[in-house]
């Protein structure tokens, strides 16, 4: 009796599409349940694979949740702030922000082993730093 109620409980968790498919079956209750469970397992596996593909489609190609991704955001904020501060007429403060952003991007490029990011940031950072040094001296 207890086993039967347990089987009913399990059957209640299987989707109605699967249970309907085996509704007219002449198999024993346990046999039918085994078939239904197998079908449900396959359905869930397929659903999981589809979801995984959707996640991979939206996932960034660059690392997320790591130290370098946090440095990347810091560098982006500093870079944008630097450009706006320079446009507002505060040249030195803007250049300092931009130089820090360039250094942070060089670090990110190093972590990603991406030479294009490293070269671009290193050269623009050097140019800004040279300007700053000229201004100071």
């Amino acid at each position: 009796m207890a086993i039967m109620s347990e089987l009913d409980k399990i059957q209640g968790k299987i989707s109605s599409d699967v249970t309907d498919e085996f509704a007219g079956s002449t198999m024993s209750k346990a046999g039918r349940l085994a078939m239904e469970l197998n079908k449900e397992r396959k359905r869930l596996k397929q659903e999981m694979e589809e979801l995984q593909l959707e996640v991979e489609d939206l996932k960034p190609a660059t690392p997320t949740g790591t130290v370098d991704s946090h440095v990347k955001w810091l560098a982006t904020i500093l870079g944008v702030a630097g450009v706006f501060i320079m446009s507002a007429g505060f040249g030195t403060a803007g250049q300092v922000c931009y130089a820090m952003a360039a250094c942070a991007w060089v670090y990110v490029g190093h972590c990603w082993n991406d030479k294009a990011i490293m070269i671009g940031s290193a050269i623009s950072g050097t140019a800004v730093l040279m300007n700053l040094v000229e201004m100071i001296l």
Partner: protein, 102 residues
């Protein structure tokens, strides 16, 4: 590196230092072209009479990096280069295209 190691070894090894960003796909070519444009623009920065070429090359470079950001689905790159595109386009319109049209 691709010639030295078997593709499976390259994919699964923790010892081989791999690039975190895609290699030899469309984004890789755009990334290097955009970097060349930005470096070319920087090389003529501050030279009298070449400011417009500097702006155009910079605009093409940051647009290339924007495309790379979209292809990598990297929001930081999109934000940074989006701001760059707006500022370069505004300067180009204000200082060169606007006066030329009027």
């Amino acid at each position: 590196m691709a010639d030295k190691f078997h593709p499976e070894e390259l994919k699964n090894s923790n010892r081989i230092f791999k690039s975190a960003t895609p290699k030899y796909d469309i984004s890789w070519y755009i990334k290097w072209c955009a970097s060349c444009f930005i470096l070319a623009s920087m090389s003529m920065r501050g030279i009298e009479g070449l400011q417009m070429y500097d702006l155009i090359l910079s605009l093409v470079g940051v647009t290339g990096w924007m495309i790379v950001g979209i292809l990598w689905r990297d929001r930081a790159l999109m934000l940074l280069n989006g701001v760059g595109i707006i500022l370069f386009a505004r300067t180009l319109l204000q200082d060169y295209i606007g006066p030329w049209l009027s």
